[in-house]
């Protein structure tokens, strides 16, 4: 392909936005360069197919609007008017009843996290207590770390338990499943550079576990984050994507007094987040000194396992 061909002109070429001179120039280049010609033909077919695809989308949308089921087309006007009036009265009545109920400020997406943070300090871990209890640890390895450290750490810490953990019956199986999923995810990890910011991304083909799907809507959230530089990472359904990160952060999932808590140690800051799907980038720095000390202890113990 000729090196002086400007690819930006291709779109304008297909949209017929080029001047006659520009168009003739391209056609001349195509005549002289068979490779260029074949590439442009290929691109033309792709663009036409994209347009056709969108047409089909819109047609399917319109097809779903079955006019025969629409009251505008099937119900006689008088009956339609009566139906509308009745529906309006019914709606107004329901609205009136509903407004009589006590109202509660609907929680915003951010509120549960704020509530969580507010509640948790009262239940801050007692270090003396946790020192005698085994701590189940999950660490998401960095690129340099072997994957097996996840299971090793879990098994090692569990086996050295001085006393059984007081935990909800569902936790061990869940933790086991989580390790398995994480290991599988890491084995299939695809690492790609993305807008120069995303350094590491875990993807998992097992979407049933709600793993990060790079084809999901969150892909553009990642980009928005990266470009706005609000945060350097995203935690989504137990998978972590790190941006521009020279020293990869560590996820720590620790059962503290029978409750599974999730932390991230990243860039010398400790964060805590939820064990649930996070669709917004909402993280709170950990201010609980006891929790920070606990995380530090965990990190030291994990280092010693290497």
């Amino acid at each position: 392909m000729q090196s002086d061909f400007n690819p930006d002109n291709l779109d304008r070429f297909f949209k017929k936005q080029l001047s006659e001179t520009e168009r003739n120039d391209i056609e001349k280049m195509m005549a002289q360069d068979p490779l260029l010609k074949s590439e442009i033909h290929f691109q033309q077919e792709v663009v036409e197919a994209i347009c056709q695809h969108r047409k089909w989308e819109l047609k399917n949308r319109l097809n779903a609007l079955a006019p025969e089921s629409s009251p505008l087309f099937t119900i006689p006007r008088v009956a339609f008017g009566s139906t509308l009036t009745l529906a309006g009265l019914l709606t107004a009545t329901l609205f009136w009843f509903d407004s009589k109920k006590s109202t509660q400020t609907p929680q915003t997406k951010a509120q549960p996290i704020v509530q969580y943070i507010k509640q948790k300090p009262a239940q801050a871990p007692n270090l003396t207590q946790t020192a005698t209890k085994p701590i189940q640890i999950e660490i998401t390895p960095t690129k340099a770390q072997p994957i097996s450290i996840v299971r090793t750490a879990y098994v090692a810490m569990h086996e050295t338990a001085a006393a059984p953990i007081t935990e909800q019956p569902c936790l061990p199986a869940r933790m086991e499943a989580f390790i398995e999923d994480t290991e599988l995810a890491l084995q299939e990890a695809t690492i790609k550079m993305y807008d120069e910011n995303l350094l590491f991304e875990i993807s998992n083909t097992d979407t049933d576990n709600g793993a990060f799907d790079r084809h999901s809507e969150d892909e553009h959230n990642l980009e928005r984050m990266a470009t706005s530089q609000l945060l350097r990472y995203q935690y989504y359904n137990e998978h972590l994507s790190l941006y521009n990160n020279a020293s990869a952060g560590k996820q720590i999932h620790a059962i503290v007094q029978g409750e599974l808590r999730h932390f991230l140690y990243y860039d010398n800051v400790y964060y805590e987040f939820f064990d649930e799907q996070v669709t917004e980038i909402i993280m709170q720095p950990v201010r609980d000194k006891n929790a920070i000390t606990l995380i530090k202890e965990i990190l030291i113990q994990m280092e010693s396992l290497k």
């Binding site: 949209k15 033909h41 663009v47 347009c51 056709q52 695809h53 949308r61 087309f73 790079r214 084809h215």
Partner: protein, 179 residues
Amino acid sequence: MRDSQLIEKIKLGDESALDYLYRKNYKMMTRLVLNNNGTEDEAKDIFQEAVIIFWQKIRSETFILTSKISTFLYSVCQNLWRKELERKSKYSREFADTKEYSDFDKEEREKIVHDCINELGETCKKVLLYYYFDNFSMQEIADKLGFSNADTAKTKKYKCKKELDELIKSKYKATDFLD
């Protein structure tokens, strides 16, 4: 909804305006085809084409609507149906078979591209569809899809297109697309 309101909504890419337009004018437009040797399916097809043409035209900078929307749609339906009737009467059975055969390859290639488009992420798909078909500007795409600015949208479009090209080429060699 007035025509001016409808046009504004369509310019913003509000597809519910399309729904409204379709339902409002369905009976009148399909009657044109039905009264001229067309079936219900053909009438629906022609009217859907007309609505989609209108959707695209409205977004074009050079298009100026000088009549009511229904008048415009009616004339588009007329033209489309006339072309369809001409096409039907022009081709003999033999010639139609030949045409179907030569179209088969193109349809096959189209199907491959469609499958690849469906493999793209939802955001990538929307960026490409909005850009190439709906003629949204980069700023409009950025606003619609939540990108920070037009440059980001442009970069995204470039990457998505590249991803699509590679997907297609991985399934077929580029020479397969030569006539």
